[in-house]
Amino acid sequence: MYEGAVQDLIDELGRLPGVGPKSAQRIAFHLLAADAADVGRLTAALQRVQAEVRFCVTCYNVAEGEQCRICRDPRRSLDVLCVVEEPKDVVAIERTREFKGRYHVLGGAISPIEGIGPDDLRVKELMTRLMDGTVTELIIATDPNLEGEATAAYLARLIAPMGVAVSRLASGLPVGGDLEYADEVTLGRAFEGRRRITA
C-alpha cells in the first residue's frame, strides 16, 4: 500500500478493464514520472470524453452530439443495417471501407452465464428501427464466438417474420476470436461473403 493519492490512482486504474494490480501500479508510477504537460493532455482528454461524448440516439455508437457521424452522413444508405456488439466493432468495420450502410450497436452479446439476456441489450430499439420498413437487409456482425453466434441465431429467429433479409458475416473470420482483432482484408472479405440465414 502507498500513501493516499498514489494508492487512490492505483485503485482507480485497477478498475479499468484489462488492467491488473501490477499494470495499475506500473501505469501509476509512469504518470508520476511524466511531464506535467503529458499528464495535462490525458486529464483534458478524459474530461472532454466525459463532457462531450454520448451514445448516438439512433444507433448507440459513440457520438459527439445527438447523433453519430455515420447516422448524420446523408451518403450512407438507409436500407442496410449492420448489427454489432460494441462501438469498437463499428471502428473495425469502418476500416475496411466495404460497408456503406448504417449500424446498430447492441451493447454486448447474449450471455446467460453473466446474467445478460435479450432484454439487457438494445434489441427492443433494433426492432423499433426495423418497424417502418426502410431497412431491407440486416447484416449481423456479432463476434465470431459462441455468444456472438447465439445472439445472431436469436436475432435471426426474432426478425424472420418481418420480411427483412438477414445475413451473417462468416467466411474467413476465425472462430473464437474478437471481431476487433480481425484484419481489414479478412473482415472486408467476410462482408462480401456474408451468407443469408433463414431461421
Partner: protein
C-alpha cells in the same frame, strides 16, 4: 517466475466458462474427467491466429495438456474431442438450457481439483442430447439438474416421505424438507404439486423418456419450477442462467418480453409481407 518446477499433466474435460484476461488471454474453467474442476490460463486465445483456435470455447470437449501453476494452471496444448457449441448455438432453447447445465456443473463441482467423474459424465450426456436434439431441451435440462443433485447427495424423495420414509405416495412436497413428505412430517408452506408432475420428475430422474416426452406443458412448467427451487435451495444462491432459459415450444416466436414486437410481427404478417 518462481523457482518451483512446473509439472505437466494431461486430462480431458468440458469447458464450462471463459473469462477475458488482459488483452488477448482467457481464464477457462474446465470440468475434467480425472482431476475435477480446473481453472487455467489460455494465452493469446482471443487473437485471430491463436494456436488454440476455437477449441477453448464453452461446450467444447477437449483433451488438454496443462502446466500446474501457483494460482492458475496454464494450458499448453488443446485438442478437440468434440465441440457441442456449433450445434447448440443455432437453437436458442438448446443454448440457454446448455448454459444452465454448464453453470450448474461449475457450482456443483465445488472446490478445484476434487474428482467429479459422475458429474462429468452427466454433463457430457446432457450436451450430447442437446446437440443431437434427441429430447426437448427443457426436459434435458431438468433431467440433468435432478441427476446432478442426486450425484451431489441431494436426490429429492419422490414417493416415500423424505423425513420418516413412510411409504408413499403422499401429496405434499417440501423444498427445504427434501421432496415428498407424509402428512405428519409436512412443514407448513409445503406445496401440493399434481401427481402427474411428480410422475414426470420420477421419469426424468430415471430416464423414462417415453413418459417424460408425453407430458403436458402445465406439468413441465410445474416440474421445472420444483427442480429450480430444489437446486437453488441446496446451492443457497440463485443461478443466473436458469432465469434466462427459454422454455417456449418449438415453432413459437422467439421469446422476448416486448409486447410491441409481437404486435409488430402480427402486423407484418397481416400486411402480407414475405416471411
Amino acid at each position: 517466475m518462481s523457482g518451483v518446477p512446473q509439472s505437466l499433466y494431461r486430462d480431458e474435460g468440458v469447458v464450462l466458462r471463459v473469462q477475458k484476461l488482459g488483452e488477448a488471454d482467457r481464464i477457462i474453467t474446465v470440468l475434467t474427467r480425472r482431476t475435477g474442476k480446473v481453472r487455467a490460463v489460455a494465452k493469446g486465445v482471443r487473437r485471430t491466429k491463436s494456436k488454440f483456435g476455437a477449441r477453448l470455447e464453452p461446450f467444447s470437449h477437449v483433451d488438454l495438456q496443462l502446466y500446474t501453476g501457483r494460482n492458475l494452471d496454464i494450458v499448453n496444448q488443446a485438442e478437440s474431442i468434440r465441440s457441442y457449441g456449433p450445434a447448440v448455438v443455432g437453437d436458442y432453447r438448446a443454448y440457454t438450457a446448455g448454459t444452465a447445465v454448464l453453470e450448474t456443473a461449475d457450482r456443483l463441482a465445488g472446490e478445484e481439483k476434487e474428482p467429479q467423474l459422475r458429474l462429468f459424465l452427466l454433463v457430457i450426456g446432457a450436451l450430447r442430447s442437446l446437440a443431437e436434439q434427441t429430447h426437448p431441451p427443457g426436459l434435458v435440462l431438468d433431467a440433468f439438474l435432478l441427476r446432478a443433485m442426486s450425484v451431489a447427495g441431494w436426490e429429492p424423495a419422490l414417493t416415500d416421505c423424505a423425513r420418516c420414509a413412510e411409504p408413499g405416495p403422499h401429496r405434499h412436497f417440501s423444498v427445504p424438507g427434501g421432496g415428498i413428505v407424509c402428512p405428519s412430517c409436512r412443514p407448513t408452506g409445503s406445496a401440493m404439486p399434481s401427481p402427474v408432475t411428480v410422475g414426470l420428475l420420477e421419469a426424468l430422474l430415471t430416464g423414462d423418456w417415453a413418459l417424460a416426452e408425453a407430458s403436458q406443458g402445465t406439468n413441465r412448467r410445474e416440474a421445472s419450477g420444483l427442480v429450480a427451487a430444489l437446486l437453488q435451495w441446496h446451492l443457497e444462491r440463485s443461478l443466473r442462467s436458469l432465469a434466462l432459459v427459454d422454455r417456449s415450444e418449438p415453432g413459437a416466436p422467439a421469446p422476448v418480453a416486448l409486447p410491441d414486437v409481437h404486435r409488430l410481427v402480427g402486423a407484418a404478417q397481416l400486411a402480407g409481407e414475405p416471411s
